[in-house]
Assembly symmetry: C2
Homo-oligomer: 280 residues x 2
């Protein structure tokens, strides 16, 4: 079996370069690091795994890493053994935990992907739109919560952070491979298509007079979340069908955008599916 041992090899540098947005964008590739993210890639979207790199020492010592590598080989993913210094040179985290995958960003025309999502059967009932959300940890956490709440997709406007940023991928804890993530479309386009698709748009805004418990969360809808510092611009809010706040019981001025999104999404999931999800 081939073992990559030179951390300065071109192939290693090429993986490490994916930390930069411009490189990810040009090559349509991103990196998933660590057992949790890589396992979800292999199990849920093996066709997206371009290259899986496994630290040969970790594979020998860590049964979880060995299982992921074996599953990947069984699924036809190309698996390459590397020495620990190669893994360290490829990874964004100081402790990549022995396994890392180069994956393809879902391709195709963004407008067509959105049209496909909106015309899928059964029709989507719960979506999230992120408008200028800028912190990769927040975006990743929202993707994870949207997955947990059983949402049908996360739509990320062109002025938001790239969801394939390493910190964002890490914060999704594998959920980036579980549900459709759409990027590359401006807010106006998203708003128009969702309205045409019959979804109500609910702007989450801490200052809104109507609260989460007072709005219809059963009818298919999309939550619209804005920037961490300035929220949603007026131009977006006025295109929404309702503006909704999460109630504040204490002295906090507002909630973190990811926790607010989670409360909104779970309000919707409970309204649409009841308090008990069916067994998965």
């Amino acid at each position: 079996m081939v073992l990559l041992t030179n951390p300065r090899a071109e192939r290693v540098k090429s993986v490490a370069a994916l930390v930069r947005r411009s490189v990810r964008s040009r090559r349509g590739r991103f990196v998933a690091e660590g057992p949790q993210a890589v396992r979800e890639a292999v199990l849920h979207r093996p066709e997206s795994v371009i290259d899986l790199y496994v630290d040969h020492e970790a594979r020998a010592l860590n049964p979880a890493v060995a299982l992921i590598a074996a599953d990947a080989e069984a699924a036809g993913c190309p698996v390459t053994s590397v020495a620990p210094p190669v893994m360290a040179a490829m990874a964004d985290t100081p402790t990549p935990q022995g396994v890392l995958a180069v994956c393809s960003v879902p391709g195709g025309d963004p407008a067509e992907r959105l049209a496909d999502l909106l015309s899928a059967r059964p029709r989507p009932r719960l979506l999230v739109i992120l408008a200028a959300v800028r912190d990769p940890g927040n975006v990743g956490t929202i993707i994870r919560s949207a997955d947990a709440a059983g949402a049908d997709g996360v739509l990320i406007s062109t002025d938001s952070v790239d969801p394939y940023h390493p910190k964002c991928v890490r914060a999704t804890a594998g959920s980036v491979f579980h549900l459709p993530i759409l990027t590359g479309l401006p807010m106006d386009h998203l708003v128009d298509r969702l309205h045409e698709g019959g979804l109500r748009l609910l702007a989450a805004d801490g200052s809104a007079p109507r609260s989460l418990q007072e709005v219809d969360l059963v009818t298919p809808h999309a939550w619209v979340l804005g920037n961490e510092a300035w929220g949603l611009p007026e131009s977006v809010r006025e295109q929404c069908d309702d503006i909704v706040s999460v109630p504040i019981y204490g002295h906090a001025e507002s909630l973190n955008v990811a926790t607010a999104a989670t409360l909104c999404l779970y309000g919707s999931a409970t309204a649409q599916r009841g308090p008990h999800p069916g067994r998965r």
Copy 2:
């Protein structure tokens, strides 16, 4: 007015040194950075402000910064003007936004502070215990959500991250000054005193069969949250009165600990106070 201009002065280094836990612990001081955190310190806990530093250029240009400095002076907090390079040298963030406060960590014997909190009138109805939560962003976000949910305090076990870590203070968005934060006590002590105080302990655990909607959230209780990677140890779970999961509707294995905590806290707030908080 005195203007500090030398970023290498001892006083400046002394503030910058508070980035280290050992220094914070020895001196009983921490740093709050940026207008939001400093404003909340001045408004809610002016007695905790040891020194407030304001960038004299920001004070001239930014009305929000000027207002905070004026409020601080009116409240009797010592305010010192500094040049921008001094602010940069003191701060943990690359953009401290013109204002920074050195604050005192609430002092006194931790066991006595806990006894005081538990015997306060009205009696506490909703608390959070963090057991070995290690990420400062998560701890800060949980403090912010606990504040938003109107919780009566956050109890942080000795094996968790220091809530006065700069990243944690930042993530609280000022809530660190809004509700009691107790540190310095081990889990066993917290569990025993809360039980004696008549609070039920609810362990949040993704694998528990009983879900958030199935347990009594009206009776006074404390949520117990565990480590990001390994959750709650068996020794803690068996001391809890109930083990409760947040339902998962999609494919995610679990939620981020801060978002799970938020859903639990809001479940409690809604059960105890109804969907509409009274006006603050």
